[in-house]
């Protein structure tokens, strides 16, 4: 069974199709990089996969279930543009909250463990609004990974992260891939992405123009695919 199965997705804003007949499947354990220019539909596609918005036509299945099914969403970890943590709650309270929302068995214990993992253990009981930018980003990483999701959706994860957070994110990503998780990420930082990606998917104005294993050429020349498919 595929981790993600998209069957002819169409997503409209008014009459404008942001996604046009997107079909692809992602097998478990793959790391798929979503590529494409701004406005190509990467974020929209990720939002559909996360269950934040529904495609008007076509079906999206996550581990064989429709994405708005609670069990399907429990198997997804999302790291988006916003960090998705509450300013008025402490770091620990935030993680415990999301732990219990995701049905993690020992939410409090897991939260503590993850605070240590992202080196926020000593400030776990401080409110997030006192945190620096880097600390918030690490907390957001913990929020997305704490239920050990078999599917990870990351929207521009490396953009605007500081060095420490990038190192942390790469470490937990590598760890997730090792335990067999599926990762789908959209990114502009092609070099970082190409080291991780086993597959690539190229979108051009809402259409899927390439999907397949990462071409070897892209390691040396990340923009190879852009020149080959779609516009220069």
């Amino acid at each position: 069974m595929n981790a993600v199965e998209a069957g002819g997705l169409w997503k409209y804003y008014g009459d404008y199709p942001a996604l046009r007949d997107i079909r692809f499947g992602v097998e478990p354990g793959q790391c798929l990089a979503l590529l494409g220019r701004n406005g190509a539909g990467k974020t929209t596609l990720l939002r559909v996969m996360a269950g934040l918005t529904a495609a008007q036509r076509g079906e999206l299945k996550v581990f064989g279930r429709p994405v708005r099914d609670g069990q399907a969403r429990a198997s997804i970890g999302v790291l988006g543009h916003g960090i998705g943590v509450y300013e008025e709650l402490s770091a620990f309270e935030n993680l415990r909250l999301f732990g219990s929302l995701y049905g993690v068995k020992d939410a409090a214990g897991t939260a503590r463990a993850w605070l240590d993992r992202v080196s926020l253990g000593n400030v776990g009981d401080s409110l997030v609004r006192e945190f620096s930018r880097g600390m918030r980003q690490r907390l957001a990483v913990a929020r997305a990974f704490l239920h050990e999701p078999p599917l990870l959706l990351l929207d521009e994860p490396f953009t605007s992260l500081d060095d420490r957070s990038i190192a942390l994110l790469q470490a937990v990503l590598a760890e997730s891939l090792k335990r067999g998780a599926t990762v789908i990420l959209s990114t502009h930082q092609l070099r970082e992405a190409m080291e991780l990606a086993t597959h690539v998917l190229l979108l051009d104005r809402g259409k899927l123009t390439f999907h397949g294993p990462r071409p070897a050429e892209m390691l040396a020349d990340p923009t190879w695919l852009y020149r080959r498919h779609g516009e220069a």
Partner: protein, 228 residues
């Protein structure tokens, strides 16, 4: 085809209205208590009928939109609501003119009047909500949900106001109770005048729907231009 229907209906409405005006002013006699002013009822009551019809259409269209997600239903909902609010305004205005002459006051907090005002406010809220949302799909979806609440609330309010106002001594003189309608000729005239009004409303709805469709097309072209 659509254009032809619009023209045909407008011509029908215009001819019918001219004919009705002739009959209303020159054919029918004055009413014995109210004199000439009672004639306003031939515009007042049909405009209420029309606005009810529009709000029912709008509610059903919004329900269909939520069920099927077709943009046309959203266009129908907004067009019907807009026309409905216009006819409520006509109903309120004609009612107030009549009240000024017969009761000597512009407004009284009678059950039906209060309800009409609330209904008008609720649907004005619907139209305002739409103006605040940029993405056409989100606009259609959110305003359809609001319309479900609006329709439900209008129904509840209708009953509630009746209880409220009948509990308090208030002028229970409603237009329906007036003697004028006893005459079957006059009652027939009410329905005869409703026909052109309804036709006019349908014409307006069709024109508004076309505009909405074009507006949506423009918005999507604009998005496409940005994407290029």
């Amino acid at each position: 085809m659509r254009t032809k229907v619009i023209y045909a209906l407008s011509i029908f409405a215009a001819l019918m209205l001219v004919r009705n005006l002739y009959v209303i002013f020159l054919g029918l006699p004055d009413e014995k208590d109210q004199g000439a002013i009672y004639r306003i009822i031939f515009f007042h009551v049909p405009s209420w009928f029309t606005s009810f019809a529009m709000f029912i259409v709008s509610g059903v269209a919004s329900g269909l939109y939520l069920w099927k997600g077709r943009q046309r239903n959203d266009e129908l909902a907004v067009a019907a609501t807009e026309v409905g609010t216009v006819f409520v305004a006509i109903g309120l205005a004609t009612g107030m003119i009549w009240a000024r002459i017969i009761w000597g006051i512009w407004w009284t907090w009678d059950a039906r009047l209060t309800w009409a005002l609330i209904t008008w406010l609720i649907y004005a809220g619907y139209l305002m909500l739409r103006r605040g949302i940029d993405d056409p799909t989100a606009r259609a979806r959110l305003s359809a949900v609001f319309n479900m609440f609006a329709f439900t609330s209008v129904m509840i309010t209708y009953k509630a106001i009746e209880w409220w106002r009948t509990q308090h001594p208030a002028p229970v003189l409603t237009i329906r109770g007036a003697d004028g309608l006893m005459d079957p000729l006059m009652e027939r005239m009410l329905y005869l005048n409703w026909l052109p009004m309804l036709a006019l409303a349908v014409v307006l709805v069709m024109i508004r729907m076309r505009q909405e469709g074009e507006q949506r097309e423009i918005e999507s072209l604009r998005r496409m231009a940005h994407a290029l």
